[in-house]
C-alpha cells in the first residue's frame, strides 16, 4: 500500500520522497472489540513537517487507530515503525518515550487539578529533596501559556473552572511543551469558537515549520483541506485511501467518506 509507492513519488511535499524513512509508519494495523473489527488492516504513515488528516464518520475507526499509536489501546495485529525502527507501544508511557504526544477529543484533563499540575502530569519537576517543585512548574506553565494563549490567567484554579478554549490551551500546552516529534490531535477544534480555532490553525503551521509530524483527526472536511498535506479516509474500520490534498476537492473527500470509494482521477495517479 502506501509504503510501496512513497519512493516513486518525487512530487510529494514536506520531507517525503527524500529517501529517508517516514517518521511514523503504521503497517497493517488490526484491532477488534468483541468480534467487531474496529480497525481492519489499515496502513498509514507520516513524514516530518507533515500534517496528515484522518477522516471518516463516527465509528469509522480513526480514533481507535490513533489510540493504538498513543498507547491507549493495544493492537491485535500489525507493526509500528518510528524512523524506520519497529517499536513496541503497549501503554501511554511507551508512546511518550517515543516523543508521541496526544491531544484527546475529551481533553483528558484532571478537572480537580490546576493548569500547571495538568501540564506536568506524569512528568513533574522535582526538587533535590524529591518533592514536586510547584513554583518552578508554575513559572514554566506561565511561560508556555504566554505563547499559546496570552489571555490565560487562571493558574491557581482547578481546570473545571476554565472555559472550553482555556481547557484546550492547557491540553495543547501539555502536548507541545515536552518536545513532541509526533503530535496526534483528535478533533482539536471541536469545542472552540472561531478565534480559538484560528489559534489552533496558527499553532499547527508553527509546529509544522519545526518539523513535527501531525496526525489530525477531524470531521470537518474544510478544516482538513485547509490544514493538511495529505488525508487518509476510513470507513467501517477500513482504509478507503490516502490522497494528496493538492489533488482533491472538498467533494472528492466527501464522496470518499460517504461512498467509501477513491475518486477515479486520484486513484489513477495513486496506482
Amino acid at each position: 500500500m502506501m509504503q510501496s509507492n512513497n519512493a516513486q513519488d518525487a512530487a510529494m511535499p514536506s520531507g517525503r520522497g527524500s529517501g529517508q524513512p517516514p517518521l511514523v509508519e503504521m503497517r497493517d494495523i488490526s484491532i477488534s472489540f468483541g468480534g467487531i473489527k474496529a480497525v481492519d488492516h489499515v496502513s498509514v504513515d507520516l513524514y516530518p513537517g507533515e500534517v496528515v488528516g484522518l477522516l471518516g464518520h463516527n465509528g469509522a475507526g480513526k480514533s481507535t487507530l490513533i489510540k493504538v499509536l498513543s498507547g491507549a489501546y493495544q493492537m491485535d495485529h500489525g507493526e509500528i515503525r518510528i524512523n524506520g525502527t519497529p517499536v513496541e507501544i503497549t501503554n501511554p508511557r511507551d508512546a511518550r518515550a517515543n516523543n508521541i504526544e496526544t491531544i484527546y477529543q475529551t481533553l483528558a484533563l484532571a478537572d480537580n487539578l490546576d493548569a500547571t499540575s495538568n501540564l506536568f502530569l506524569g512528568r513533574e519537576l522535582i526538587t533535590p529533596f524529591g518533592l514536586v517543585n510547584d513554583a518552578a512548574m508554575e513559572a514554566e506553565c506561565r511561560k508556555i501559556m504566554a505563547q499559546l494563549n496570552p489571555n490565560f490567567q487562571k493558574f491557581n484554579d482547578p481546570v473545571s473552572a476554565l472555559s472550553g478554549g482555556q481547557r484546550q490551551s492547557v491540553a495543547i500546552a501539555r502536548a507541545v511543551y515536552f518536545n513532541a516529534r509526533i503530535l496526534i490531535m483528535d478533533e482539536p477544534t471541536a469545542a472552540l469558537g472561531p478565534h480559538e480555532t484560528q489559534m489552533v490553525a496558527d499553532l499547527i503551521q508553527q509546529l509544522k515549520a519545526q518539523g513535527i509530524g501531525i496526525f489530525l483527526i477531524d470531521h470537518d472536511v474544510h478544516a482538513v483541506m485547509e490544514l493538511c498535506d495529505r488525508a487518509s479516509v476510513m470507513k467501517n474500520g477500513q482504509l478507503v485511501g490516502t490522497v494528496d490534498i493538492a489533488d482533491v476537492t472538498d467533494d472528492d473527500l466527501l464522496s470518499m467518506i460517504i461512498l467509501g470509494k477513491t475518486p477515479d482521477q486520484v486513484k489513477e495517479k495513486d496506482t
Partner: protein, 432 residues
C-alpha cells in the same frame, strides 16, 4: 475568553478579611462546628467538658480512628472504598498480641517485658498490615474487582482470621513497653512536650515563609505580610496552647507514687507532674504531617488526586494507576496496623471485638472532613477534624448522660447532615 485582565500578573482586588488571609472556608467551618460543639457540651456539663483531663482523653480516644481516616482519604479520593479497616485492625492487633505473648516468649525465649519485644512486635504487625493491604490493592488494581467487594469480603475474612488466631480469647496483659503507645501509659512529660511544641511552631513558620519566598522568587502574587503574620500567630497559639493544655493535666498522685516506687525511689511530697504529649498523639501528628506532604508535594500524591479527578486522564498521562492502587491500599493496611498498635495498647489487651464498626467511623470521619465520595477531593487535616468532631460528639453525649442508642442515632444523623451542608456549600461555590 472571560479573562480581560492585563499583563503580566494581575493583582486581584481583594475584599474582606478572610479573602485576604486566603483561608480555606471549609476548614474554618469545621473548626467553628468543633468549637461550638465543645462550648455547648461545656455549658451543659457545667464546665466538665473543656478540662485538661477531658481534652487529653478526647485526644487519645480519637487517635486510632484518625490515623486510619488519613489513609481512607487517599482511598476515597481515588474513587475506592475500604470496608475492611476495622477487621484489618483486629487481625493485625491479634497478630501483634500473639507475637508478644506467645511467639516471642516461647519461640525466641524473650521474656514478656524484654526491651526487644515491642520493637519486633511493631515490625511484624506493620509488615502484616501492609501486606494484607497490598493484597487488597492488587485485587482491586490488577484483577479489577471493585474495591467495595474486595473489602466487603475482607471485612468478613479478617474479622474472623483475628478470631481464629486468638481462639476468640482476650489476649493480655500486653508487653509493658508496648503499652507506651496507648496514651496515658506513654507521655513525653512537660519539658519534652514544650520542646516539641516549639519545634513544631518553628517548622510551621519556616514552611509558611519558604512557600512565600518560593512564590516571590518567581514573581507570583503573595498574600500581604500582615496576613501571613496573623496566620503564623494563630498557628503558634494553637500548637503551644494545645501543649499547655496537655501539660496541665497532672498525673494522679497515686499513680505518680506507683511510678516512683517502681523505680525504687520515694516521691517528694506535693510533687505535681503533667502528662504532656501522649506518644499516640505524636504518632498521629507525624502521620498527618507526612501524609499532607505526600498529598501536596510528591508525585505519588499528585497522581492520587489526578486519578481521582479523571482516571482516564491519569492513565493516558502515563501514570500506572494499577500500581498506584496497590500502593494506596498497602498504605491503608500499614495505617490499620499502626491504629491497631494504638488501640490495643490503650486497652492494654487484645479483645476479640477490637475495631468493631471502625470502618464506618473512619469513612464517616473522612466524609465529614470533606472527602468527596465522587473522588478527587479530600484533605488529611479535614479527616482528622472529622474524627475529632465525631469523638467529641460521642464522648460529650456520654458525659451529658444521653442513652447509648440515642448517641448512635445522633452521630448517624450528623454524618448525613454534614454531607448535605457540604453539597449545599459546593453548589453555592459553583464547584462540582
Amino acid at each position: 475568553m472571560t479573562d480581560t485582565s492585563s499583563q503580566p500578573i494581575p493583582q486581584k482586588v481583594k475584599r474582606g478579611l478572610f479573602q485576604q488571609l486566603e483561608l480555606d472556608m471549609r476548614l474554618l467551618g469545621m473548626i467553628g462546628a468543633f468549637l461550638i460543639l465543645c462550648i455547648g457540651f461545656n455549658i451543659v456539663t457545667d464546665g466538665r467538658f473543656l478540662t485538661a483531663r477531658n481534652l487529653f482523653n478526647l485526644s487519645i480516644q480519637t487517635v486510632s480512628v484518625a490515623i486510619m481516616a488519613c489513609g481512607m482519604v487517599f482511598i476515597i479520593v481515588t474513587r475506592h472504598i475500604d470496608l475492611s479497616v476495622g477487621a484489618l485492625l483486629a487481625t493485625t492487633s491479634a497478630v501483634m498480641a500473639m507475637t508478644q505473648t506467645e511467639l516471642l516468649p516461647h519461640m525466641l525465649g524473650l521474656g514478656l517485658d524484654n526491651p526487644a519485644t515491642w520493637a519486633i512486635t511493631l515490625v511484624v504487625g506493620l509488615a502484616v498490615g501492609t501486606l494484607i493491604g497490598a493484597f487488597h490493592g492488587w485485587m482491586v488494581g490488577y484483577l479489577t474487582i471493585p474495591a467495595f467487594i474486595v473489602t466487603l469480603g475482607g471485612f468478613l475474612v479478617w474479622r474472623n482470621v483475628a478470631w481464629y488466631l486468638t481462639s476468640g480469647q482476650t489476649i493480655g496483659p500486653l508487653d509493658s513497653n508496648f503499652l507506651m503507645f496507648g496514651g496515658t501509659n506513654g507521655t513525653l512529660g512537660t519539658t519534652a512536650s514544650w520542646m516539641i511544641g516549639l519545634f513544631a511552631t518553628a517548622i510551621a513558620i519556616w514552611a509558611l515563609w519558604s512557600a512565600r519566598r518560593a512564590k516571590a522568587a518567581h514573581g507570583f502574587p503573595v498574600k500581604p505580610a500582615w496576613a501571613e503574620a496573623t496566620l503564623a500567630c494563630v498557628i503558634a497559639c494553637a500548637i503551644l496552647g494545645y501543649v499547655y493544655i496537655l501539660n496541665s493535666y497532672a498525673i494522679p498522685t497515686r499513680k505518680l507514687q506507683r511510678m516512683f516506687e517502681a523505680k525504687g525511689e520515694t516521691m517528694p511530697e506535693g510533687l505535681v507532674v503533667g502528662y504532656g504529649l501522649p506518644i499516640s498523639v505524636l504518632i498521629l501528628i507525624i502521620v498527618a504531617v507526612t501524609l499532607t506532604i505526600v498529598a501536596r508535594k510528591t508525585r505519588f500524591g499528585r497522581y492520587i488526586f489526578a486519578t481521582g479527578g479523571n482516571p482516564d486522564a491519569a492513565e493516558l498521562s502515563g501514570i500506572n494507576t494499577r500500581l498506584l492502587t496497590v500502593k494506596i491500599f498497602a498504605l491503608m493496611g500499614f495505617l490499620c496496623a499502626l491504629s491497631a498498635v494504638v488501640a490495643s495498647a490503650r486497652l492494654a489487651n487484645h479483645s476479640n471485638d477490637i475495631g468493631t464498626l471502625d470502618e464506618l467511623r473512619v469513612i464517616a470521619a473522612a466524609v465529614i472532613g470533606g472527602t468527596a465520595l465522587s473522588g478527587g477531593i479530600g484533605t488529611i487535616y479535614g479527616a482528622i477534624l472529622g474524627a475529632l468532631i465525631m469523638q467529641a460528639l460521642q464522648s460529650g453525649m456520654a458525659m451529658v448522660g444521653v442513652d447509648a442508642p440515642f448517641q448512635n442515632i445522633v452521630v448517624g444523623s450528623v454524618l448525613v447532615l454534614a454531607v448535605y451542608i457540604d453539597i449545599v456549600y459546593r453548589k453555592r461555590l459553583g464547584a462540582k
